[in-house]
């Protein structure tokens, strides 16, 4: 298929991604007068991590109570408390202009989505301070309702954008592949919004398989800055039984006060000091405590098969176990068929515990804090390019405190407004030479032979990542990983497809995804190596101190003449004074900075995953 046969499309604003960030961006762009086209790798409103949610989203209680008349809300969780806690619990490296945008603009869109949900007949369960729990499908359907109520939005589904087109430092469109037909598409647009979500480079998966960092990687290749890639959020994730592997159901055990011990491979208890145990389950910082203590077991080679620990219920009777699960199933039945969490059987999970008295769990990578650098208007460092949601960086610093789904909608809506405004003053431009080159590059995958397969490339990538950027990190593993990633990058240049048919050629799609995942994982390893301290979700066994003297910074990467250049800068400060430089050991730091927020950020069940 030569370039002349590439399908040509035009739109004022091109939105890449059909999750919450993409959908809200499309809605606000259209509202602001733009013709909008969404190109989404999955189905719009039924793809990405947006549908994987098994938790909740919130607005501050003050706005809920006073501005939206929700009398059950708790106004003690003020905007100021939310702002301060995002910065504090994010270890002070959030860009505060982004946190302000999050806090100021989120109540309106949170309420709007709630109304769409009601209209679409979806269940959202309210809890204090002002939190709505729901399933991912309900969130997807609510957003879809908002979309179909808007005019001037077209969508291309199962279409993967592979590269941005640029002319004189301005983004002027993108090249995409229709996954089902294998056809290539050139989309010319006055502006582009990326809402492509995060990246997930590990073998254990709790995310949607869309999460291959495509948007982050293609923005980076086009010259945009990306930052904070070393910060990856991990959550308790089931390792067994096989059909439930990847479910985050075990996260709920902490919220529902399940009684169990955590043990290593040999049955030795993993002891978490009581003063830390006291904040587990009450504060966002609990994820860090789990990551450190379970990660330590695995790093020291005492983990179970597949890098896990045991949740050990041997001190509980059958009756006690049954009653713990009964409570959990009652709660889930608000959103799912009784006895299920999504489509995973809670009864099966319980029965294994009843039989074996223990079950293997690990920590799966649920969310990417790093990504494309944006400002409070969602402008990237490239003209004509905007980004929103999980593919961006900067709001949550080193640890995600507030809701990612709120981030996606508050940033999505703003990105759409800015992109539409920009489009009004812009004209369509072309860069035939670049478009042609991109098309040829992606078609050349079919000409290779004898190289690595896409499947093996992805498995190798996961093995490198599992070893170096999961759990506790150290200089030696990171150095080895960077070398290994670079070797794999070389091998990927001749990645070969066994089947040469274009229609639904997943080897082709998977090879492209491997390249993007690898780009993101390598940047994560480089930044993790450069950050010689422990902070938030980045834990170094060789540098256990939080070092505000040297590392109260955000790291940024940029591609200059084909070379990765890493720079750093202080976070943008608006009203929260940064702590003065000092080194402190990680857990003293956590205890000192615990804000005593207790359950303020949580609803009654405490679930915010």
């Amino acid at each position: 298929m030569p370039y002349q046969n590439v399908k040509q499309l035009r739109t004022d604003v091109l939105i890449v991604g059909g999750g919450g960030a993409g959908i809200t961006a499309a809605i606000s762009s259209a509202k602001n007068g733009a013709d909008v086209l969404i190109a989404s790798k999955g189905k719009v409103g039924n793809s990405g991590n947006t549908i994987m949610i098994g938790g909740s989203y919130a607005m501050d209680g003050e706005s809920a109570y006073h501005d939206y008349g929700i009398k059950e809300a708790d106004p003690k969780l003020t905007k100021k408390v939310l702002f301060d806690s995002i910065i504090n619990d994010g270890f002070h490296i959030s860009d505060q202009n982004l946190v302000e945008q999050f806090v100021e603009e989120s109540p309106w869109i949170v309420n709007e989505v709630r109304l769409w949900a009601e209209k679409a007949g979806q269940k959202f369960k309210f809890g204090k301070p002002a939190t709505w729990a729901m399933s991912g499908r309900a969130m997807g359907r609510a957003l879809y309702q908002g979309l179909i109520d808007s005019d001037n939005i077209d969508f291309l589904e199962d279409v993967m954008v592979v590269e941005l087109i640029k002319k004189n430092d301005t983004i002027i469109g993108a090249i995409a592949i229709d996954i089902y037909s294998g056809e290539m598409i050139e989309i010319n647009s006055k502006s582009v919004v990326l809402g492509t979500g995060g990246f997930q480079p590990f073998s254990l998966k709790n995310t949607n398989s869309d999460m291959t960092g495509d948007g982050i990687a293609m923005a980076f290749r086009a010259g945009a800055k990306v930052a904070d890639m070393e910060f990856l959020l991990f959550l308790l994730t089931a390792l067994e039984p096989n059909e439930i592997k990847g479910s985050i159901m075990p996260v709920y055990f902490t919220f529902f006060d399940f009684k169990y011990k955590v043990t290593d491979r040999d049955g030795n208890e993993v002891v978490i000091p009581p003063e830390l145990k006291a904040i587990e389950g009450k504060s966002e910082l609990c994820k860090l405590i789990d990551l450190y203590y379970y990660g330590k077991v695995v790093s020291e080679g005492k983990g179970t098969e597949n890098d896990g620990v045991y949740f050990d219920f041997s001190d509980s009777t059958d009756e006690e176990i049954n009653s713990m699960f009964e409570g959990l199933m009652d709660y889930y039945s608000n959103f799912y068929k009784k006895g299920y969490y999504h489509a995973d059987s809670v009864e099966t999970y319980r029965d294994i515990i009843l039989k074996n008295r223990r079950i293997k769990v690990s920590m799966g990578n649920e969310y990417t804090l790093g990504g494309i650098v944006i400002n409070e208007k969602m402008e990237t460092s490239l003209k004509g390019l905007y980004a929103a949601g999980e593919c961006t960086s900067g709001t949550f610093g080193a640890n995600r405190v507030a809701d990612a789904v709120v981030e996606m909608m508050v940033q999505g809506y703003r990105a759409g407004v800015t992109a539409a405004e920009y489009a009004k003053g812009a004209t369509f431009k072309e860069n035939r030479e670049m478009s042609k080159k991109i098309v040829e590059t992606y078609l050349s995958y079919f000409d290779n032979s004898g190289g690595i397969s896409a499947a093996i490339a992805n498995i190798e990538l996961e093995n490198i990542s599992d070893k170096a950027i999961h759990f506790l990190r150290n200089e030696n593993d990171l150095n080895n990983a960077i070398i290994a990633y670079e070797k794999l990058e070389e091998k990927l240049k001749s990645v070969s497809l066994h089947s040469k048919s274009k229609a639904y050629n997943f080897e082709w799609i998977s090879a492209i995804q491997a390249k993007n995942r690898l780009q993101c994982a390598k940047l994560a390893a480089i930044m993790a190596k450069e950050r010689k301290e422990s902070r938030g979700l980045h834990l170094r066994s060789d540098f256990p101190m939080v070092d505000n003297e040297r590392y109260l910074i955000r790291q940024m990467a940029e591609l200059l003449e084909g070379q990765i250049v890493i720079t750093s800068r202080s976070p943008i400060v608006t009203s929260y004074d940064l702590p003065i430089g000092q080194q402190k050991d990680y857990f003293s730091y956590i205890l000192e900075h615990e804000m005593g927020l207790e359950n303020l950020l949580y609803n009654e069940q405490g679930e915010s995953v």
Binding site: K41, N46, M52, G136, S209, N242, S499, S501
Partner: protein, 101 residues
């Protein structure tokens, strides 16, 4: 366990045909159909096509529907049992193998 899969590639084949794959798994492994198809893709035959992009893997999106032993099932939640399992595409226009649009 044997997986007997109905295959068709519109760019190569005149008609569809069954191909059998022998997997070193048993009922005890509790493999889902999706796990088994991934196993084939990764280890035996990467030309096999099935719904593999935008996979939620927990029965959320509803997009991995196929016919397993004659019954419509979600590949990511259907647990494999028995010695031999027949997998066919769901109703619709077959794009390739188990992929239907």
């Amino acid at each position: 366990m044997i997986l007997r899969i109905l295959r068709f590639d519109s760019e190569l084949d005149q008609a569809s045909y069954y191909q059998e794959y022998d997997l070193p798994i048993s009922s005890e492994d509790r493999f889902t159909v999706m796990d088994a198809l991934n196993y084939i893709f990764n280890n035996l035959d990467s030309s096999l096509s099935f719904f593999s992009h935008s996979v939620c893997n927990h029965g959320i999106c509803g997009r991995c529907l196929m016919i397993v032993d004659g019954k419509p099932s979600l590949a990511c939640t259907h647990i494999l049992g028995g010695e031999k399992v027949v997998i066919e595409p769901k109703k619709g226009t077959v794009i390739r193998d188990l992929v239907v649009k």
